[in-house]
Symmetry: C2
Subunit: 493 residues, 2 copies
């Protein structure tokens, strides 16, 4: 694919432009011809596939199974749950017709007015309604519970302002939808999946997250409680990386889903839903990358190691290649994905810059002199440090280095994050700290009114009430009214 | 999930009803609230996931990468390729609006007339148009070629008569879209992917297929050549299981995609596309299953072995379980998926019938007496044969048996298929043989007119011109005109 290795905008100059440049130049995604929809390019999709694979394994390890429900939802289904329709109606893509025909003036195809649907269909913005309408037929007794289904799917929300990966009209995600006999079990499931998300973010993405509960104002439309993991980007803004909802009996009531419990009584079913999306790609990019390009955690990098030969003639290349073959074999035997780039139409310097831009964690360069000396040049992408190492034991060294990089970028992100969490005890202090960026722990009186006013004045929202936060009471920074505990405010994506 | 183990309709009584019963009762899929759209239930989806995994591995092994393109396609894109729009316009789901609002009379939500799209969007029936519009920006020179992308996606075609898995309005599939510098390379790619499909069908699905070329009349809308794999169901009807298209330069011309070739000349790019879908589930079900339920090939069975304990009291269960633990461990170590069903609320007879219905290839039953004798009862689903085997070496025996079953059901399907391929040399003979069912090899004069007439009179279509067929010339059974070679006629799904 045609590409020029131009410099990226620097983060310090324009963080937002840096992000957009990076997404395009690292071949992750691009805008499509359809407003708000992106094309996920092969390199970006390869990262998403790795995320999918790991998440899917974690879902299955916690007893979940995959299924598939229809893309289109009858309009009337949305209306069944009052808050749900309120939350999604304004961004629904609506299918009204099922046929095109040739225009009579020969100008092309037009919508056939005779093929109008009796009831319009909505492209799913999320699938609670169609799924609970289905669960109604699956559930009769407590013996049919729990149902622990997940779906990998595309969804559509007509967003007015879109940004690649972070907010797109169509996005890819997984949505878990579970049904339970008791409130306790449903709540435990919602919490369990939050833990799965946090574990995935930290172990695979190397992104530290804060677990918390959303305020009523920020809750999923139709949920009784929304749990969230919040990450901090390098500009100090928060990014909601995954949510898990305790839906109570709202959808069971909306779709009349009852079961006979162990006491032989008819009862409404308890529900959860939980999802992460291609938005995680945005979090991954913005947490670790630098002015040279992507920095990928080894656990999610499509190419973990690249080897570039340095040579003056084909004889030298042949010698280098013979040596490299053994290294490639050794790395593959350890389950490490490695690419030997011996393409003859690009110079080493071009290759170096390209793999830096693409965030390949480790680069090895081997030339004729290295062969003589029994050495290899090793570059680690996270710190850009180079070292000359012995070819003996290089496979083990690289395997160790990948682990080291994974840990290092997590620690770096965590150190940055922790250094940007502060406490504010007055509204003046709060405004200053919000302006400086980062998470601000402050007391809040618990009302939506205050939350909205603070947002209007400072653009900061309540990201969550942290689950492991202190429950020391205080007074609201805005109204001075009593507050049970501090919450996390931040500007956000 | 609530379910009653009722008898299936017998194949001999009503093949079509048998299929529908089986899909529902084996928990593979069910109709949804949306016309023509199905819910793929967890057990059905688990089979599809296994198919996806194997196909995806094969695509990657042949150099392909995955990507993702938008769900919605601007209406005008469809019109760019004349045959393409002709082929798909009549079954397009059309998005015309992007917002709902509350009805003024309080009756619910209605489409907001103010949110009408300037240009309507079509839910992709297939993605050639949006993808070639994207490739335009990716291709400048021969160095950018080939592009070998695949996409796993949902597509939508508004079919009037639908059947679960076989023909649904929404279906899941993969669509490969490749771009090449030469006609030869594109043709070779289309043929290569046909081979991949045939290999997958035979080695994993245990479904024998005939490879061939479609007639002009049956070609994909916009292709110069459509290659196909055709399978035979147990009622003798054909099922098109996968297609691979040589698109020539049609889409490159429609979207103005040119490249500079090695001779420094500007040239249109050559294309292929190829796809298989959840329709394969229908082929799988109808090829092997019987009046007791599903028969799954071990290579795609979500559960390959089920173990059922037979016991009179909890002490006996404990003894049996202790023995079973070792077997489970041994099977898992060989990569065999095994389920130990010690559920106490169902009797062994119910479990036996349920796993037969679900097509689990091997069932082991172990009771107290077996422990005394060092034996286990082994039932193979394909032949329903039971045998008593020694517990010593049972893991190896089961592993061998799974291979044996995989081979046996393939051989059985192939023997059946071959026994139902016949030759007809007159139209009378042809009509008789078509009525009897199966594939009929007959001469055809090469015209669409004859093809259409034969279909009108016999409901038989030309499935393909077989790639490895005899090229002995003859005379058309319908018109008596010269024919270059025999083609395969059959009634089809």
């Amino acid at each position: 694919m045609a590409k020029e290795l131009k410099e990226l905008t620097k983060r310090s100059e324009n963080y937002s432009q840096w992000y957009n440049d990076l997404v395009v130049k690292a071949d992750l995604a691009e805008q499509s011809a359809v407003r708000g929809c992106m094309v996920i390019k092969p390199y970006g999709y390869a990262i998403w596939e790795k995320m999918q694979r790991e998440l899917d394994n974690m879902f299955k390890a916690t007893g979940h199974v995959n299924a598939y429900f229809p893309l289109l939802i009858p309009k009337s289904f949305l209306s069944r749950e009052a808050e749900h329709v309120e939350g999604f109606a304004k961004e629904c893509a609506v299918v009204t017709h099922y046929r095109l025909k040739n225009a009579e003036d020969g100008s092309g195809v037009v919508v056939d007015p005779a093929a109008r649907l009796e009831e319009e269909l909505i492209i799913r913005p999320t699938s609670e309604t169609i799924i609970w309408n289905t669960y109604k037929n699956w559930i009769k007794s407590y013996r049919d519970l729990p149902i622990l289904c997940n779906q990998w799917a595309n969804v559509f929300r007509w967003e007015m302002r879109t940004r690649m990966f972070l907010r797109t009209a169509e996005f890819l995600w997984q949505e878990g939808h579970t049904a339970h006999a008791t409130k306790e079990e449903a709540l435990a499931e919602a919490r369990k999946m939050l833990d799965v998300y946090a574990d995935f973010a930290e172990r695979f993405m190397a992104v530290p997250v804060v677990k918390g509960v959303k305020t009523a104002n920020e809750r999923f439309a139709g949920a009784l409680d929304t749990f969230t993991i919040e990450a901090m980007m390098q500009d100090g803004k928060a990014l909601q990386a995954g949510t898990s909802h305790f839906l109570g009996q709202n959808f069971a009531k909306a779709f009349d889903v009852k079961f006979i419990n162990k006491e032989n009584q008819l009862e409404y079913v308890w529900a959860t839903s939980w999802g992460v999306s291609t938005r995680l790609m945005g979090a991954l990019i913005m947490t670790h990358s630098d002015d040279n390009g992507l920095v990928l955690p080894p656990n999610l990098a499509p190419i973990q190691v690249v080897i570039v030969p340095i040579y003056k003639n084909m004889d030298q290349l042949a010698e280098v290649s013979a040596k490299v073959d053994g290294i490639v074999e050794g790395l593959k035997a350890k389950g490490i994905s490695v690419k030997y780039d011996d393409a003859d139409n690009k110079r080493p310097g071009f290759k170096f810059a390209d793999y830096e831009l693409k965030g390949v964690p480790v680069r090895l360069a081997i030339g004729a002199r290295d062969l003589e000396n029994g050495t290899v040049e090793v570059m680690r992408r996270d710190t850009l440090e180079k070292s000359v190492e012995s070819l003996d034991g290089i496979v083990e060294r690289v395997a160790d280095l990948l682990k080291e990089i994974q840990e290092n970028i997590y620690t770096k992100a965590r150190t940055f994050r922790d250094a940007h969490i502060s406490v504010a005890d007055s509204y003046e202090e709060f405004k200053e700290k919000i302006e400086a960026g980062g998470f601000v722990l402050a007391h809040w009186d618990g009302t939506t009114e205050t939350e909205v006013r603070v947002k209007e004045e400072t653009k900061a929202t309540i990201r969550c009430i942290p689950l492991d936060g202190s429950d020391e009471p205080g007074t609201c920074i805005f109204t001075g009214k009593p507050s049970a505990r501090r919450v996390i405010f931040a500007r956000n994506y």
